[in-house]
C-alpha cells in the first residue's frame, strides 16, 4: 500500500511535468513563428512577397486550429512549412534589395557610359 502511494505520486508528478512541457513547447512554436512574421513585417519583407505572407498568415491560423484540436502532426507540419516559407520570403526580399542595388549601379554605369561617350566625342 505504501509503495502504491509513492508510485501514484511519482506518476502524477511525471504526468504534470510532461503535460506542462508539452504545452509550453506548442505555445513556443506559435510564438516563435509569430515573432518571425512580425519581424518580416517590420523589415518590409511583405513588400517583396505579399502572396507568400498571406499564405503564411493562413497557415498560422490553421496551425492554431490544429493546436486547439490537438492535431499534433498537422500542427508540426504547418509550423515547419511556415518556417521554410519565411526563409523564402526573407531571401526573396534580399534578392529584391540586391536587384534594386544592381539596377541603381547599372543605371549609374549607363549614365557614366553616356558621359564617357560624350567626353570622348569632345576629344
Amino acid at each position: 500500500m505504501f509503495k502504491m502511494k509513492y508510485i501514484l505520486i511519482f506518476f502524477t508528478f511525471f504526468s504534470v511535468v510532461f503535460n506542462v512541457q508539452a504545452k509550453t513547447k506548442k505555445v513556443d512554436q506559435i510564438v516563435v513563428v509569430q515573432n518571425l512574421i512580425n519581424q518580416a513585417y517590420k523589415l518590409g519583407y511583405v513588400d517583396a512577397a505579399p502572396l507568400e505572407m498571406d499564405f503564411i498568415e493562413k497557415k498560422v491560423i490553421e496551425a492554431k486550429t490544429a493546436r486547439d484540436k490537438r492535431k499534433k502532426t498537422i500542427f508540426n507540419d504547418l509550423i515547419e512549412q511556415i518556417k521554410v516559407d519565411l526563409r523564402i520570403v526573407k531571401k526573396r526580399y534580399e534578392v529584391n534589395v540586391l536587384n534594386k542595388q544592381l539596377g541603381i549601379i547599372q543605371n549609374d554605369n549607363l549614365n557614366a557610359k553616356k558621359m564617357l561617350d560624350e567626353l570622348e566625342r569632345q576629344l
Binding site: D77, V84, I88, E94, L98, L102, M115, L116, Q122, L123
Partner: protein, 324 residues
C-alpha cells in the same frame, strides 16, 4: 456479398495505385525542377550548399526513405529547398553582377577622369593659345595705336610746319608785296625824279653874262656827294648838247662850283671833277674836246649865302659858258 468485397478491394487497390502514380508524377516534377536548377548555367557556380541540401531532400524523398506520414511535408520542404536554392543562387549571381558592375563603374570613373583631365588639358591648351593670341592681338593693337599716334604727331607736326610755312609764305608774300610796293614806289619816285630831272634839264635857262652866254646846271645833275653825273641826267643831256652845238665855232668853258661845306681843297677837287665829268659827257655827245675847257672853282665864287641850305644848294653848280 463476395462480389461486393471484391469490388471494394479492387477500388482500394485502384485508389492506392492512383495515389502512387500521383506521387510519382509529383516526384518527377520535383526532380525536373531540381534538374532545371542545377543545369541552369546562370546559377551553376552559386548556392552550392543550398543545392546540396535540395538534392539531399529530393533524393531522400524519391528513394522512399521518408515515412508515409512525413512525405507531404518532405515534398513541401524539398520544393521549398529548390526554390530557396534558386533564390540564393539568384542573390549570389546578383551580388556577383554588382561586383562586376562596380568594377565597371570604377573603370568608367577612371576613364571619365582620364577623359576629363585630357579635356581639361585641351581646354588649358586652348586657353593658353587664346591668351597668346590675345596678347599678340593686344600687342598688334598697341603697335597700331603707337603708329597711329606717331602718324597723328607727324600730322600735327606737319600741320604745324605747314602752318608755319604758310605763315612764312604769307609773310614772304607780304614782304614781297611790300617790297613790290616799295619798288613800285621807288620806281614811281625814280620816274618822278627822272621826269623832274628831265623837266629841270629842259627848263634850264641861258643868261647873257660878261663872260658870255651861260647855262647853269644845278647839283641835281650829280649823284649826291659825288662827281659822277646821274644816269637819268646823262640820258636827258640833249638840251645842253643842243645849246653848245648852236655855237659850234665858240670855245666852251665849264666851271665847277661847290658850297662852303668841307675843306677848300676838297671842294676845289670836287668842283674840278664835276666840271671834268660834264666835259667828258659833252665829248661823248659829239662835242670837240679841244673846244672845251673845264675848271674847278671850289667854293670861291658863291652866288648865294652858304648859311642856309637853299643858298648852299644854289652854290653847288656847274656853269657852261659859250665864250665870245
Amino acid at each position: 456479398m463476395k462480389y461486393i468485397y471484391l469490388f471494394l478491394v479492387s477500388l482500394l487497390l485502384s485508389s492506392m495505385l492512383q495515389a502512387k502514380q500521383s506521387k510519382e508524377i509529383e516526384y518527377a516534377s520535383l526532380q525536373k525542377d531540381y534538374n532545371n536548377l542545377v543545369t541552369n548555367l546562370k546559377y551553376k557556380p552559386y548556392a552550392k550548399s543550398e543545392k546540396q541540401a535540395a538534392k539531399k531532400s529530393v533524393e531522400v524523398l524519391i528513394n522512399g526513405k521518408v515515412k508515409r506520414k512525413a512525405k507531404d511535408l518532405a515534398l513541401y520542404v524539398a520544393r521549398n529547398n529548390i526554390a530557396y536554392a534558386r533564390l540564393v543562387a539568384e542573390a549570389e549571381w546578383i551580388e556577383n553582377e554588382i561586383i562586376l558592375e562596380k568594377n565597371k563603374s570604377l573603370t568608367f570613373e577612371v576613364s571619365i577622369s582620364k577623359a576629363e583631365s585630357q579635356i581639361a588639358r585641351q581646354d588649358a591648351a586652348i586657353a593658353r593659345m587664346m591668351l597668346i593670341a590675345q596678347q599678340e592681338e593686344s600687342q598688334r593693337a598697341k603697335e597700331r595705336a603707337d603708329q597711329a599716334e606717331l602718324i597723328a604727331q607727324n600730322s600735327i607736326q606737319e600741320a604745324a610746319l605747314s602752318k608755319k610755312e604758310t605763315e612764312a609764305a604769307k609773310r614772304y608774300a607780304q614782304a614781297q608785296t611790300e617790297q613790290a610796293d616799295l619798288a613800285k614806289q621807288e620806281a614811281e619816285i625814280a620816274i618822278e625824279e627822272i621826269e623832274s630831272l628831265r623837266r629841270k634839264l629842259n627848263s634850264i635857262a641861258t643868261e647873257q653874262t660878261d663872260k658870255g652866254l651861260m647855262m647853269t646846271l644845278g647839283d641835281f645833275v650829280f649823284d649826291s656827294g659825288k662827281s659822277s653825273i646821274k644816269k637819268e641826267a646823262v640820258q636827258n643831256f640833249s638840251k645842253v648838247v643842243q645849246f653848245i652845238n648852236t655855237y659850234p665855232n665858240n670855245n666852251v668853258r665849264i666851271e665847277g662850283h661847290t658850297d662852303s661845306t668841307g675843306s677848300n681843297q676838297l671842294n676845289l677837287k670836287l668842283s674840278q671833277l664835276r666840271a671834268d665829268a660834264v666835259k667828258n659827257l659833252l665829248v661823248k655827245n659829239g662835242i670837240q674836246a679841244s673846244q672845251i675847257n673845264a675848271i674847278g672853282m671850289g667854293e670861291e665864287l658863291p652866288i648865294a649865302d652858304n648859311a642856309s641850305n637853299a643858298g648852299k644848294a644854289k652854290n653847288r653848280r656847274v656853269e657852261i659858258i659859250i665864250l665870245k
